[in-house]
Symmetry: D3
Amino acid sequence: MKVLTFGEMMLRLKPAGNNRIMQSDIFEATYGGAEANVAVSLALLGNEVAYLTKLPANLLGETALATLRKYGVDTTRVLRGGNRLGIYFLEKGASVRSTNVMYDRAGSALAEVKQAEFNWDDVFSGIDYFYFSGITPAISTELAQIVTAACGYCQAHAIPVICDMNYRGKMWSPEKARQVMSTLMPYVQICIANDEDFAATLGINAFDGDMSRGIDQKESFKQGMLAVTQKYPGCKVVASVLRNIYSVEDSQWMGLLLKDGEFYESTAYKMHVMEGVAAGDAFGAGLMHSLLHNFAAQEWIDFAIAASVLKLTVSGDLNLVQESEIRSVMKKGGGASLNR
Amino acid sequence: MKVLTFGEMMLRLKPAGNNRIMQSDIFEATYGGAEANVAVSLALLGNEVAYLTKLPANLLGETALATLRKYGVDTTRVLRGGNRLGIYFLEKGASVRSTNVMYDRAGSALAEVKQAEFNWDDVFSGIDYFYFSGITPAISTELAQIVTAACGYCQAHAIPVICDMNYRGKMWSPEKARQVMSTLMPYVQICIANDEDFAATLGINAFDGDMSRGIDQKESFKQGMLAVTQKYPGCKVVASVLRNIYSVEDSQWMGLLLKDGEFYESTAYKMHVMEGVAAGDAFGAGLMHSLLHNFAAQEWIDFAIAASVLKLTVSGDLNLVQESEIRSVMKKGGGASLNR
Amino acid sequence: MKVLTFGEMMLRLKPAGNNRIMQSDIFEATYGGAEANVAVSLALLGNEVAYLTKLPANLLGETALATLRKYGVDTTRVLRGGNRLGIYFLEKGASVRSTNVMYDRAGSALAEVKQAEFNWDDVFSGIDYFYFSGITPAISTELAQIVTAACGYCQAHAIPVICDMNYRGKMWSPEKARQVMSTLMPYVQICIANDEDFAATLGINAFDGDMSRGIDQKESFKQGMLAVTQKYPGCKVVASVLRNIYSVEDSQWMGLLLKDGEFYESTAYKMHVMEGVAAGDAFGAGLMHSLLHNFAAQEWIDFAIAASVLKLTVSGDLNLVQESEIRSVMKKGGGASLNR
Amino acid sequence: MKVLTFGEMMLRLKPAGNNRIMQSDIFEATYGGAEANVAVSLALLGNEVAYLTKLPANLLGETALATLRKYGVDTTRVLRGGNRLGIYFLEKGASVRSTNVMYDRAGSALAEVKQAEFNWDDVFSGIDYFYFSGITPAISTELAQIVTAACGYCQAHAIPVICDMNYRGKMWSPEKARQVMSTLMPYVQICIANDEDFAATLGINAFDGDMSRGIDQKESFKQGMLAVTQKYPGCKVVASVLRNIYSVEDSQWMGLLLKDGEFYESTAYKMHVMEGVAAGDAFGAGLMHSLLHNFAAQEWIDFAIAASVLKLTVSGDLNLVQESEIRSVMKKGGGASLNR
Amino acid sequence: MKVLTFGEMMLRLKPAGNNRIMQSDIFEATYGGAEANVAVSLALLGNEVAYLTKLPANLLGETALATLRKYGVDTTRVLRGGNRLGIYFLEKGASVRSTNVMYDRAGSALAEVKQAEFNWDDVFSGIDYFYFSGITPAISTELAQIVTAACGYCQAHAIPVICDMNYRGKMWSPEKARQVMSTLMPYVQICIANDEDFAATLGINAFDGDMSRGIDQKESFKQGMLAVTQKYPGCKVVASVLRNIYSVEDSQWMGLLLKDGEFYESTAYKMHVMEGVAAGDAFGAGLMHSLLHNFAAQEWIDFAIAASVLKLTVSGDLNLVQESEIRSVMKKGGGASLNR
Amino acid sequence: MKVLTFGEMMLRLKPAGNNRIMQSDIFEATYGGAEANVAVSLALLGNEVAYLTKLPANLLGETALATLRKYGVDTTRVLRGGNRLGIYFLEKGASVRSTNVMYDRAGSALAEVKQAEFNWDDVFSGIDYFYFSGITPAISTELAQIVTAACGYCQAHAIPVICDMNYRGKMWSPEKARQVMSTLMPYVQICIANDEDFAATLGINAFDGDMSRGIDQKESFKQGMLAVTQKYPGCKVVASVLRNIYSVEDSQWMGLLLKDGEFYESTAYKMHVMEGVAAGDAFGAGLMHSLLHNFAAQEWIDFAIAASVLKLTVSGDLNLVQESEIRSVMKKGGGASLNR
């Protein structure tokens, strides 16, 4: 069983620690992107996974590619060319100061890719599942069409489609997101939707927008999840991460799964957040791993949320953990041991 | 409207992270000082501000000066000469281990400045407000006289004087502080007093000295603040930061303002402290900004305390934040969002 | 009064911050080992202390030796030779991700030491107390015999023996530990036992193994401590650190002392843990210091636990604190002050 | 006397030391650009200087601006807006491995600036000299027109124009460069041309392209310089840096000046190159300083080349040296002393 | 065409810059080993290459494996298990202070591998060339036998064997080396021998041992190379790097090739050495690449020596360069250009 | 045989690499001082050595003390107290940019020491040789008297006195130096004088002041050395380091010794200088070691200069080398080997 994920990989530049850009004379450089993060997680968990993107034929593109290879992702489908690698700057917040993402991704190789560059027969050769997030169609109108074409190919070839809504307010408006995603959702069998995804991307009311009390709105989220399956009957599974975010460092995380009409809840983890990004991708990868290994429904959400909260302890975009560590969190709920 | 702040700027040397000096082979070098910090904050908030000090004509003095310029402070009044730049070593504590400041400031350019070096007409040309803290007169007997002269000039020219008590036990005794400050307070229109400032500097009882429960003593602080206005009738505004400090990382902060006979309270922020110094200067700058922009009284204290708690999330002495970030904290009370 | 501690010193390699080994291209290098840590603490507290080990005659062995000298430990008894310095890799966890220790100590100079290399008359010349931990006899069968010989020498020469059980599951099985330690315990006058030490090393039931609620099991620990003195009547003092460990960063620590039939309890400290290793060694050194200075029994446990929780704020294996800092924690319970 | 320089400022990202991008997980971040470098040098040498550019209204734009202010450049003419700050990646070579610059500057604020955004009366208010380099018109067709307009304004208002040819093969072709620069050269009074500038930008034969023996072709360069003044009679001064570059670290540098028909030569410096970029800008600033202070012609070239070779010892784009250091190099030819 | 290389991969720990171990509190961590370095070079040059070794099933083993994958090496033949990853410490010298390598490789996974773990049919499936160096048989007696078995398999299946003598005085004596290698040389078609390899490993006189004048002994080396082909008639190609090493930073390098009875010489490169290790492996990879692509004999040695001297400019064990960079050095002899 | 050295130890703060103070936000912190450096060298070479100074009773003083202990120096004579540890800032030059030392040592513990604090019987108990440099009496008038008293005590007790002139133009004038040193020289048996020492400190003409051609003036230096022994007949040995300094990185070093009327010359080493300070102290330590071990006269100068040039390859003030490394340089003249 082999998964293909499709999206954009960027150079991420972050001042050391919690430093501000204005006081920083170094940037930590890592490489990531929602769907690449999912691919790396799946590979580290021992699964076959390929990644589809376009990377420039320069040193940054090479390094992004090498990063994928390092962690075991099949990169043979990656297109090369274009003008630049997208960049995003990350200013990690602290306490009451929010973390800030500044995109510098316009004009990237993927942003300027054309539909004619993709040969879907080649792309999907040997692929059993297709995963993308709402970020990919948000990049350009052309990409929205390309993703549609990919979904169409999957439908025609019975390749299940998994999609993480991943709404990004700095990339598109709710109106535009809803317009595009409403054409894509009919292809989706498994949908991940968190926080503002419900309203912004799906046009469904599930959340009042107060990030400090997402878990407190569990019942409302459940209604929202049900609404997704009603609106898109092909979508049999909806998964959500619910969060109470108290500060940059402190939050509580739990997972909700609606699968074949039943709800499954994970325990809620009280977390110290070391790195607040890409935990959603870790969640998605946890779900995919559960799917690939036919876990029971309760294990889906337990595994996915444990993978997700572990990501909050790892710096960079990639969830560099092993299955045994996820299992250990699932079993004892966390860090109360020193292995020696 | 242009502010002049007057004080000493030092090289600050700090081991990386929470390292102790004995295990550290690097020091992080930044430049700061109470009144310089206020000036930088005011400039970053878009105000006209000049800084008065004396810096040695060597590479460290140049770098201190460049730091001021970098953030937009008018440095044209800065005197040059003397033997050295003062230094302070900062060992950042952790949990139960207190943060420790070690001064190495004797013999600095400002510590040896003479009154004859100041031409008050030039210094105050174009200046509308004068700001200093209790640190400046604590540096030397000559400086106590120089500050008195500056205050006298302000009085004669209707330039309002704002003073942050800023008592430093490693610089002078309470007796000496009270003796000097009691001659300066009659010139002061707006006074900032925190914690031990009341007893040590003003000789007023407001606080029992237990830093872990300052907020719990709010009523006592209010009495102290009233006492200030009674003792010094020219002082129409008294502002205080109240804190419950539980550990190096954990504390709660709130602001109190007595203005024209009325009290105004901010909300109390539960904080993760990343950097425990210079938050008082950020508070002072927040007040000054409120004064310069004619904010309503409640906004004075809301703005000032939000600026102050944001400083706890920024490393170094300088509060490198924008007004929009202060407003964001005022509105939603903190870090429960990820901007992307 | 002079103490001798005996054990293995290793190079510790740790990725920066909370990084994982797989993402790290630097390792922070420090040197430590349970009994070396105790020796350094004692020296920093102003006591006479010598350390016994074997170090290879290479650059790493030299550096380990220099580290001991730096902090004032008498290194004149250290044997030189053998093939390598043991290494341990430390991956610091975060939140729910446990800290992980990976030993690479096989074939070290001490692991291959032979009994014939020790001349006990020379080793114990001028020594008043002998301290070792359960790690030393766990290293090799030969070392178990060497420690037995040392204890025998101490018994014959009325040198009190202090032992920290220090069970390490990655070094030996509970069965092997119990077998060896049961031959050593009859020589021990003061015994430190924490957590799994009771069951694994002493075969005594005191703790249900749940690290997140050790303090909650205080009465059970007391029974275990009593059982130690009953099983080994020569052992007049038993000391324990009890912990509720909530996550890698958050825990609560308290000390228990059974001395001459009476129990003494310290206050419980709520801690932010910056560095989770070697706090037990700091505790042992605190006890030894109390013993050397004839503190009252209550002060023994108060001093030892304060030394121990301070270690949680210092990076590396060595507890680089001064007695005044320990006293300050004992007095006001922690970091609620900024010394300036 | 006040100078205006006009060009683009970029974020420069460079792996530490001589590391390659593929092996680097940090980038050193500095800010620079040919004309900004000249402005900073002039300010550090005590001159009045303003810089004209357009910077985005984001954190990177703010930091670029703060960098200019830090070193004393007047930034009041800087336009704000646009989408991004241009970036360039610098891989520092070593020995036989060439240093490599990778531009990521498309779509920058300045690259998309429109002529209508400039009010020349405001821009040139109080300005006595105008300096730009061939990089500025190479950025976009619009910028070539904007520079032409600026030059026209200068001609009309008797503001002398100084231009460094600064040919960049990665920005435009020789054909395009020659076409644009041939329309600009008639406005130029002082011209700096090095190496391939003669052929690529001016269409004049002065150099055979072998960077390892530029100094050996001094006579040929002189002919080229004379040809410039013949082709553009308004250009009374031509200055050149001649280099024998043996490896990334080793080279020899000398300066040539043609002024009012006479040639002046500097001594040739044998250099260890620590940082190979922006030495041409330092040379340009040295010439401008000579012009502003009416140095004798021989001093022009001696001062400019000494400033230039000092830049080779300073990391980053900015020539952080003082006039006294330039004078010291002029006097004794270099580093044969230890000042203590 | 696919190459298999066989050897040991280690963790390399090096103090930053030229620091000594005794003054270093960080180690830079990279992963390498002679034959792994060759494999990475071949992969970066676009060739198919697999690597054979045994790596422990721990985090260090994982990271070594990930490093190979990152650069495109086929790792599917790598055995897993054993106790530890070998380590080597590298103290980079400076000027007159020699670079020092300290091995800590005893007991490594590969050092304890058994012949029975290798299934040669699987190992050599799809392999066209076999490459190893004299380090592999030096690791253990078992490995000498394993390498013999591998060579036997190659002989039986017409897979050409390439061997770099790579004598290491810290691993075995000349006597032992000669004894083992004399049984292996009959299998070798292409042999790389440098410096002391001739005497220590092959028992042939080619070099007087003075590293500062290897190139000066070119004729003597030629005699030695001829002697190799006479002693081992199956060996049709002998390649050597000749060096004049003046100091840690300064040396001159050239290549000699004896192929089918003819000698070919490269130009001699005057080098600044940034990193003195693994240049021999880069040379070996250059030869292999020449072999794989049927270069003309002169191009073999030109390409190999250019690849080798480029390695002297790249930190770490791996030669992170592209073919275009090697070609650029071949064409113009080095760093006399700045690409921008 | 035990040596006592007497002088000031300072905190040295240096920007990383060749960075300038103005661009540096970290300082590398090391501890050193001429006579402390000599003491550490002697200890590392296996000699008994004590150091006399006064260090403040603060964290910086503790760290300086720990540094001495780390390398094996007897610190039992060190006085504690005073106000501060002296600091010096070091800006490492490059190529033509000179290295710059900025002292911030006024008011240090030693600078304010009083003669009454020294009990010479205690200080010299067990001491066989006394070593100081001209820096110590340059610190204060009181110290000049204290050094005189120490020398007097040595004379009275037949303890030979060794003095390195070590003239520092930033500490005193030639006139003052000559006045003080002329009263101290009559006590000196072995004198080290380099470069400007002859003229500035001894009033003897040996050198024309051109640092780039010191070795070229060997005969003139010999005359100067002879003149020293004639002026101060008690001084039987004069040693000098002669240097041709071409740039910050390149120089040539040789040693000259006049012993009992005969001259001895070392070979001249062509050096890459990694760290240009404290090589004179390494030379002094090399001489002292030769004296302590009764080397032949030629070996004195060979050993001392080899120790000195090795220091040029070690960062920091301390010459962290072993005798075997010095011997290796003496034998083969340097770094033309890679030990592995």
